[in-house]
Amino acid sequence: MSKLKFDCRQLRKTVLDMAYAGDTVHVGCAFSIIEMMAVLHREFLRFPDNSPNAESRDYLVLSKGHGVMAHYACMHARGWLTDSDVQRYFADGTEMKGLSDSRISGLEVTSGSLGHGFSVGVGMATGAKLKGTDQRTVVIVGDGEINEGPIWEGALFAAHHDLKNFTVIVDANGFQAMGSTEDVLKLGSIKTKFESFGFDAVDVDGHDEHALEAAFSEAWNSYSPKPKAIIAKTVKGKGVSFMEHNNIWHYTRLNAETYASAVAEVTGCAK
């Protein structure tokens, strides 16, 4: 597998650099999925010749497009994006948008309107199954995102058709745009819900890289015909004390001071 490190401290630093350079939001959404992205890229996703367009690659679908800076950070670590791409984020005439856009190599779908990537991923997994390849499709959805109906339409389909090559990771950070998932639209047990739809489902600490590795290994090596759901309990804004559990970092832009403090925290150089 990849020899690249995908150091979570560096990935978070890249996200902060982008967010500060682009004067943009959604930092909290990116920080909750850093560890799962790092582990997937480091240990599980296959990109032959490190190419985002390799025909036999595994498919990583970021259905929660709002976390795209975490994905960009991994693409930067792979060398698919340059330092200039990071520093010029959101500059006029640049291609990288604030939500996942499939025209960028490395991003499989256009998302941001929620509940789309899951179904596209189910289609890709169905295609791989029909072709008889061993490609895997991993879809990352937010817990808020699973309010959307097509997620559950797709879950029925994936289970009915035994898409064991399909894995959904739910970024269960407990927040959506207007508040906590508990307050907005109660989800109950996400694990139980996916189980009842016919998935093998497991809860995991979404910031414990060893736990994530174990959960992904189990999903990847399972003999069960069922699709897999990994419910990653995460913290929105993870890694920066003043962002953690604070939904305002869905919307807030960094200034020079908050940028410097955040960088100090994520790189472990806090005073």
């Binding site: 179904s119 596209v120 289609g123 295609g127 009915h160």
Partner: protein, 311 residues
């Protein structure tokens, strides 16, 4: 027309194993032959159109050629955002086939009637929009949809109105197809889908001077042909079983407005839902789209033009 559809689908799928037929639990007997002869290429996605269309995008991404079937009230209208974001944004070759367009489901009410589907799809970039009039155009449009390799909406309306062509016409996508030649610089009827039959009936009986074109391609239409037709006409009547807003009448008016303004009568559905229940013919009457009502509209239009020209 429906058997032409089924035959074309089976023929295409047998020749290209990348073709998959996805249905949202619709088309009960229609796909008997397909299911028998191309069983590995058939997916019933259940009553879950949003997922079905998203999946079609995923399948197209990994090399398949999905043909997605539903009632036009659902495919494309219910799934418009999936078409826009998942399919059209990346110009993926997915063919969306919306059956029962217009007032085919006359007894079932608004949920199954569809008079906004052309307007919805033609404003999405990269989309091709096709609207065949008879079994021959149906076959032609299926081939165009396959060959175009681009997102396509194929609108299938009332299917048992008879033929307007003697055989499959020779035409390219975008072409206007002349089905009756009238006098030069006279009135020209431009009709699409089910209303081509109405236009032809009227032309043969009441308007011998009229030139009539069938317009199976709404987008991308051959604009220079439309301009030529406008140049060679005194006035235009467009006919469609679709809202007057956003359909063929709008399209022709847009081109005329920019290039060759001519008086245009748009015969279509007024901007309202059906009030009553009844047969297809009854509902056409309710909307003023039966032959007699259309004739009355055209007569008033032509009379006004004459009066206007007389000052």
């Amino acid at each position: 027309m429906r058997s032409a559809f089924s035959e074309a689908l089976v023929r295409l799928a047998k020749a290209d194993s990348r073709i998959l037929l996805l249905t949202g639990d619709h088309g009960y007997a229609l796909f008997d032959t397909f299911r028998k002869e191309c069983s590995g290429q058939y997916i019933n996605a259940g009553i879950a159109e949003q997922n079905m269309v998203g999946m079609a995008a995923g399948l197209a991404r990994v090399g398949f050629r999905p043909f997605v079937y539903g009632l036009s009230a659902f495919v494309p209208v219910r799934v418009l955002e999936q078409i826009k974001l998942d399919i059209a944004h990346d110009d993926l070759p997915v063919v969306l086939m919306g059956d029962g367009a217009g007032f085919v489901y006359s007894h079932l009410g608004t949920s199954h009637q569809s008079t906004e589907d052309i307007a919805c799809t033609r404003v999405i970039p990269n989309m091709m929009v096709l609207s065949p009039a008879d079994r021959f155009e149906q076959t032609l449009c299926m081939d165009w949809a396959y060959q175009a390799n681009t997102p396509t909406y194929l609108r299938m309306g009332k299917s048992d109105l008879g033929d307007v062509h003697p055989a499959i016409p020779v035409a390219k996508p975008g072409d206007l197809i002349c089905i009756k030649r009238g006098v030069p610089h006279g009135v020209v009827f431009l009709a699409t889908g089910s209303m081509v039959t109405t236009a032809l009936k009227l032309g043969l009986k009441d308007y011998p001077e009229a030139t009539i074109y069938s317009v199976p391609t709404i987008k991308p239409i051959n604009e220079s042909q439309v301009i030529d037709v406008l140049n060679d006409s005194a006035c235009i009547v467009t006919l469609e079983e679709h809202n007057k807003l956003g359909g063929l009448g709008s399209l022709v008016s847009e081109i005329a407005g920019e290039h060759q303004p001519k008086p245009i009568l748009r015969v279509g559905v007024d901007d309202r839902f059906s009030e009553m229940c009844g047969t297809y013919q009854y509902l056409l009457k309710e909307h003023g789209l039966d032959v007699l009502a259309v004739k009355a509209k055209i007569d008033v239009f032509l009379k006004c033009l004459v009066l206007r020209s007389q000052g």
